[in-house]
Symmetry: C2
């Protein structure tokens, strides 16, 4: 059917979507969320259909931004719109929902169609649901990972072997990457580290590194830096490693569906695309961490190791305590300060300790230290000042001020300190609420916003002792944060919770 | 966050959707497909979020049609947009994906949120996927049906008991409803029949009835007609019986997911909402019918009967042959002609036979005939002319010409007859291709378009015998249809398929 083009300046979806009048759709034989072939001049696209009785008249086809962007002079004023079939991968999605294993080719098709925007949101949702309910075998996960790698960009790093680390997430202030990378780099190892931004937390590694230098680089820029100095700490979103994974995450997040097989594939595809050969994965366990159960953490660790072997990647996992923040500061600048202090041989003990454990394991995996002695080398790198020098080199290469001092970092000028109302011991730190408060203060966008803890978990405090200070760049944000604090983010243990008097009801 | 309203004259989805600038979304803490609370003057809506960097500027919120339609003078120029949680039913959907049974309250919430447009397409897709993979227990199906009934309209018919029939579908020309309803009505039984339009077939009961009279009536109009004459044949889409089901079908169709439990719930919820007490369900089995396997048809029949008991509905199922069309005509007018002929005591044997079987069963269920004798009464209703009189009464009540003659019905003036090229026996009729050809001719929109068969399955034909005639209202459409015919819709059996000569390869 020949229809007049009407451009709709709306970016509705990641995939091509057209708007048809209900009567035209009926004549073409297509229903809502069905597919049509749209011929625009010499170009042809398969688009998903939405219906209208108003916005587009009979005889017109409405093109959303995705197709508008692809219009050119050759297109004329009309489009030929005909019924199209869904891609074969829709049948494969149904096959997975039916509980069948998918072949290498079927997974490759699903991932290619995902990357090429040929699957609609409801189809991707059905795929995620199918994987969630039916699971994927190791064979399927390997094929999925290889498809994700082959349809995205890969880093081409000359210096081998390539080391890497990854944290499953969910622990505020956990900036070990910014300590581990300079330690490894100082010892001459190669670690092209890509990180993410905060999603629901107060700061990701990327947000924190951004306080000190640029983080957004293209593939060839990253390769140039790493081939020169052996390491980097950049934003993964600047380079399309395993881009299919990003598209699946967009569907998984709002559904809150985190199937184990996609978690494994997501992480390992990005490591594979970076060329990583020796990897330590940090799995924090805690009731507000991503992994809530230690047994599941152990199973996940075994799966990482098994899959790693098939991907020619040596993997070790560390299962860590995830019930408290790491370091003293929460928020980009405050976390960067902790990192600079640790690299100066000072700073929070837990951040230093955890980073040296991870770096030490990697030294041992790389044959740079005998078993059980890697941590010592990591500590030497810090105490000799070599790690700090390397960190400054990274900052310089990434366009920052290599001579940056702690006093240079922006800190919110609006502050509020909360004191203990009783004497006791710091009994719990609610990491979820800590993130919420730091975000209310303005983190991660306001670099100087966040929380600084004056106390550690387990410490004994007297009444009136400073517990933590809120920092914000805008006055109003402190008030927002204080509202949330009603439920206290850290708890001081009392011996007696309450005394109940009067008659008990039976 | 206070944002300036920008109206976007686009109906993007059935649920409220707003477009936010990426930076504002980040500040609010919401991701793509997450939810925000939108305060428009005194009104408040929860909307799903899409993101832009272009169409809507920082500081603006783009409202799609759904919310634009709800703007009024009290709204002002700004909207207060804040982070909102997904409805609880999203958790229940996840629970189903995890393989758990859902409680009555959880199913009620899902269905209410579906009807109130509070669930996004990807969430509904996850629900359909969850039901597809995990199934629903009979208990869950009953609760689902009751929720669908309670959230939609219900017919209030005074004359009891209420009879009904339903066909699972997939057989061209299967217009038994238009024969069964007047037979029952002629005998004084009550049958408020709602039907659907063709989706992928050449004509639905609604499309065919529409050749003779109006089919689109509101709830109170339907009640008035049925309370007066005992029966009707109207479009179900004109009255929102079990409206949640329509919304789920919109998601199920493009995914091609037809979980048995949703098929059962869909049909039974609509019957329950019509107040039906005695129902015959026709389950055609054939390779192009909806049900392909006879054993599955038997299981489905047992499930219908069991669920019916719990819904206080007496159900009988007939499993029928679905490998050929019913009647001679395919397409609205041609099928209406078959119906008028059968009611006149003439016409295709199979349409008369099947209709009388169904009507007979209903007579027996209603105590109007002893077991095994219902069909005779049905035949008497036709042969006495009483069924035809009742049919004309229905047509008149529904605003049509009660004195309509076959010659009055529109028949496409462009015709093309296909003859047999060989002598043999009619071996198969490809119902899927028959639908495609009739649709290519213009059915169901062009009422006079379609196919008329001069032969029946099993009949012996000589070379040159007329097999079928195509009818179209537009010349071009005959050509379109002829293109499809390359693959023949009916096959004439040859004794010898081919003679292979020369050396055989081993």
């Amino acid at each position: 059917m020949l229809l007049k083009i009407k451009t709709l300046d709306i970016e509705a979806t990641d995939y091509p979507l057209v708007l048809l009048h209900k009567d035209d759709a009926k004549a073409i034989g297509v229903r809502r969320l069905g597919r049509v072939n749209v011929k625009l001049g010499s170009k042809e696209f398969v688009a998903v259909v939405d219906l209208t009785e108003r916005v587009v008249a009979k005889g017109e086809v409405g093109l959303y931004e995705y197709l508008c962007d692809r219009l050119d002079k050759s297109c004329g004023i009309n489009a030929e719109v005909t019924l199209a079939s869904p891609p074969d991968s829709v049948e494969s999605i149904k096959k997975k929902l039916d509980g069948n294993a998918l072949s290498k080719e079927e997974l490759q098709n699903i991932i290619e169609d995902t990357v090429e925007n040929r699957l609609s949101d409801i189809e991707l949702s059905a795929f995620v649901s199918g994987v969630y309910t039916r699971g994927l075998s190791n064979e399927e996960v390997i094929n999925l990972i290889n498809s994700m790698v082959s349809t995205g960009q890969t880093l081409d790093i000359k210096r081998k072997p390539i080391f890497d680390k990854h944290c499953i997430g969910g622990v505020p202030g956990n900036r070990t990457t910014m300590v581990v990378v300079p330690i490894l780099g100082a010892a001459g190892l190669t670690i092209p580290k890509t990180s993410s931004r905060a999603i629901s937390s107060a700061a990701g590694t990327t947000d924190t590194m951004e306080v000190l230098c640029d983080v957004s680089f293209h593939k060839n820029e990253i390769e140039k830096i790493v081939n020169k100095i052996g390491c980097c700490i950049v934003w993964g979103g600047g380079v399309d490693l395993a881009i299919a994974d990003d598209k699946l995450i967009k569907i998984r997040n709002p559904l809150g569906l985190d199937p184990e097989s996609l978690l494994l594939a997501s992480i390992l595809a990005k490591k594979k695309a970076s060329g990583s050969q020796k990897v330590v994965i940090d799995i924090p366990v805690g009731k507000n961490a991503k992994i809530k159960d230690e047994n599941f953490a152990r199973k996940l660790a075994r799966d990482f190791i098994t899959l790693g072997e098939r991907l020619e990647m040596e993997i070790k996992c560390i299962i860590t305590y995830g019930e408290k923040p790491i370091g003293r500061g929460i928020g980009p600048s405050l976390e960067a300060i902790d990192v600079l202090k640790v690299l100066a041989g000072d700073g929070p003990y837990d951040l230093r300790e955890k980073s040296c454990e991870i770096a030490g394991l990697l030294f041992e995996m790389g044959g740079k230290a005998p078993r059980g002695r890697g941590k010592e080398i990591a500590e030497q790198m810090i105490d000799s000042g070599k790690a700090m020098s390397k960190f400054r080199e990274i900052i310089g290469e990434q366009g920052g001020n290599a001579k940056v001092k702690i006093e240079d970092l922006p800190i919110g000028s609006y502050q509020h300190t909360v004191k203990s109302e009783i004497e006791g011991r710091i009994d719990f730190m609610d990491t979820r609420m800590i993130n919420m408060i730091a975000r209310a203060c303005g983190a991660p966008d306001d670099k100087g916003a966040g929380i600084f803890f004056h106390v550690e978990k387990g410490e004994r405090v007297k009444k009136g002792k400073d517990l933590f200070t809120l920092y914000a760049e805008k006055d109003k944000k402190i008030d927002n944060a204080l509202e949330i604090i009603n439920g206290n983010p850290i708890g001081v243990e009392k011996v007696i919770y309450d005394i109940v008097e009067g008659e008990l009801s039976i």
